[in-house]
Point group: C2
Chain length 443, copies 2
């Protein structure tokens, strides 16, 4: 009886704790792989696969014949200076999609971008490492580097030489092949014949969740209008659920506006109505108030558009025409909308605290693309961030704040901006604007 129990323990613990790795290359030839798209050459010698750059051929991929869904992939890589490469995973090559072009997640191999996740031939950068404060020169140039990719459900995490790189939450493609890229070098003859090498490529596909490791890199959630488990644990909630008008209403009515706003394919849209302030559907506000919070919203504007995100809003203050009263994170096409030139020293440009504090000039903003507005309120301390850059910082409820307000458009609203809490507002300024991923973390 004792002997049987002993054996049982060994077998059971073995299945729990011994990670099973499968090599993806036999070290002698390219059995199990195929070449797609380009004509760069791949060789195998002494367990090392080497890809060789070739002029005038597109990106070339050495693709596994098998598909993989959840896995942990480890490999060593070495790359000649000047080359760009990457390792695809959960990727596809489909006749119907760009005539078979390899597309999907790529573990980037390219100088300081290495370890980031690029969505090849699809969405571009998903995790470009600017979000990761740890990521400084982890790549050893001209030497072998150790890579690790963990893909478990929506969680995709990467490491180089033990340093966490990307930490992505995404749901676009749950499985696909793995592929070794030799990037196109165009007709640059200087790069012709340069090489990128891989060795010890091995994959674990059993009990993957059990071997998943913690990442010190901050997570990016690429699933539209969702809260990832990491975000949920950190206190984030959707301020807009991506589908309904729950939690929102017109700023001056008790229902959601019956015109001017539409919900379409995960986007909350303000419809174009001639550029007037709150003249069509009107502003919308959250049904409840917020006090201390981090608010994030992605927004895209059409050229020349004007909109805004307001906070500390008291919809009861302005019952007349125009927008409801509150502090405004200005949304504007600075290039084409005349308001950017009005106001004082740029205090009506995108990211500014409207008519009060100009956003810093070195901000980054992309017309026709989604931009991220972040508003952080900690009692009287408020910050505006635009695309990861702090553009405005101020303290309210003090003499300087009141003196500044006294000079502005808000001078006649009593105690403007000093309320302990208020509604959050999305502005209808008669221009087409898209919102998504509107999230809040209460502090």
């Amino acid at each position: 009886m004792k002997k049987i129990l002993f054996i049982f323990i060994i077998v059971f613990s073995g299945s729990l704790y011994a990670q099973e790795w499968t090599p993806l290359c036999n070290g002698k030839n390219l059995k199990g792989w195929k070449k797609l798209n380009g004509n760069a050459e791949y060789k195998v010698k002494d367990g090392v696969i080497t890809g060789i750059s070739k002029v005038n051929t597109p990106n070339t991929f050495l693709v596994t014949e098998k598909n993989y869904g959840d896995f942990i992939l480890e490999f060593d890589f070495k790359i000649d200076e000047g080359l760009n490469s990457g390792v695809q995973f959960r990727s596809k090559s489909l006749k119907k999609y760009n005539n078979g072009k390899v597309h999907g997640y790529q573990f980037e191999i390219d100088g300081n971008h290495s370890g980031g996740i690029y969505d090849e031939e699809r969405r571009g950068w998903l995790y470009n490492l600017t979000a990761n404060p740890n990521k400084i020169n982890v790549l050893k140039k001209g030497e072998w580097n150790k890579a690790r990719i963990e893909a478990t459900g929506n969680s995709i995490r990467t490491w180089i030489n033990g340093m966490a790189c990307a930490n992505l939450w995404d749901d676009m493609t749950p499985e696909g092949f793995i592929a070794l890229q030799v990037h196109s070098i165009g007709n640059n003859k200087e790069l012709n014949g340069k090489t990128v090498s891989w060795k010890d490529i091995r994959i674990c596909t059993t009990n993957v969740a059990q071997y998943q490791t913690d990442s010190s890199a901050p997570e990016i959630n690429a699933v539209a209008n969702s809260i990832s488990p990491t975000e949920a644990k950190d206190g984030w909630k959707l301020l807009w659920d991506g589908k309904t008008v729950n939690g929102w209403k017109g700023a001056k009515i008790n229902t959601f506006p019956d015109k001017g706003w539409v919900i379409d394919n995960g986007l909350l849209k303000v419809l174009k109505s001639g550029g007037g302030e709150s003249t069509n559907g009107g502003d919308i506000v959250t049904t409840r108030k917020y006090k201390n919070f981090i608010l994030k919203a992605e927004f895209k504007i059409m050229p020349g558009a004007n909109s805004g995100i307001k906070y500390f809003v008291d919809p009861g203050l302005n019952r007349g025409e125009g927008s409801a009263i509150g502090c405004e994170f200005q949304i504007l096409d600075d290039e084409k909308h005349p308001d950017a030139k009005l106001g004082v020293k740029g205090n009506r440009t995108v990211g500014s605290l409207y008519d009060l504090i100009p956003a810093i000039k070195s901000k980054k903003f992309n017309i026709n693309e989604f931009n991220t507005a972040t508003i952080i309120v900690t009692n009287n301390h408020v910050e505006h961030w635009l695309n990861g850059i702090k553009v405005v910082e101020y303290e309210r409820n003090n003499q300087m704040w009141n003196a500044l307000v006294a000079y502005s458009k808000y001078k006649d609203w009593p105690d403007f901006g000093n309320a302990a809490e208020g509604h959050i507002l999305l502005q209808d300024h008669g221009d087409e604007v898209w919102f998504k991923n509107v999230k809040i973390k209460e502090l």
Copy 2:
């Protein structure tokens, strides 16, 4: 030899450490005292002197025949509710001064003012206890209270029941009599016959400095244009010496202006010249710059006057007409000068940071009297105080400061108010203004 040394030590230490007290009243009659000015009655019984209020008689004083200069005086006192009294010291009664009216320092006995120092029939309050944060209801109503007065050179300190009250530095009268006051009650019959009593009145006049005790009350220096030893120890210096133009020059010239300013009897005066900004003698500035400091200046203005104290001044900025450029502690007769109504929400009233931040409305200001301006600079944090009340507080070198400046008269001066250091300026705005006690403590 040993025996002689032993006796010597006893005698010597006795003279050093045994405080010698002399009673001022023999406990039986008023020998050594005389009554002056009024007709209130004083009685002696069982060692207690009792003064009795009487209608329709002026302040009455029971005065010592002897004069005292440096001394420590202790006594117990008890006073009926509704009465006001006090104990004069270093006081005089001179035919040539108000026909013999008793005048000079008074240890006040009057509710919460008790223990303060009032300059009877001369300058009024010298130490009214508002400067002393310790002084809250030390007086026991209707009971015996213990008083102590230390007068040593310019240092005058008081205690009630062991709690430090006044701490004055003054040099007006080095010696005089001691007197017990029965204050006039006019024709108020309800107070007729009420009493104030003193007992155990004793004085020490030998080795006084040796028995002087530390006071926890903040010192007030009433000696014009002087630095007391306490102030010197605390780092204070005269910014204006009270006599010469040393350390000062015209803001736009290398010498002191030859007109527009005069030094007269310890006062630095701007002469009246029609109310123009820097059109007569022009502003004057310190010859050196200051970075972190507490600046105190007493100023008196004629009705309708305009002036100011500027700091972080760069005299090189404005070489044209008008005042030199810097942050300004506004000096103005808010009632009569039109500028008080201009600007935005009171940001040009007395005590304000001129054209930027209004002084709080509850400030106190006295026309035709000296007022105290205090400016405290600690790097980017700045405070204005007017007559002991904080009226303006702000942070510079940040987005909010720059946004506020952008709205003001200073919008075209590059980086206004953000200099790490600057000159201090007294403004000639063509109106008569008096300055004295201009002191600075560098931090």
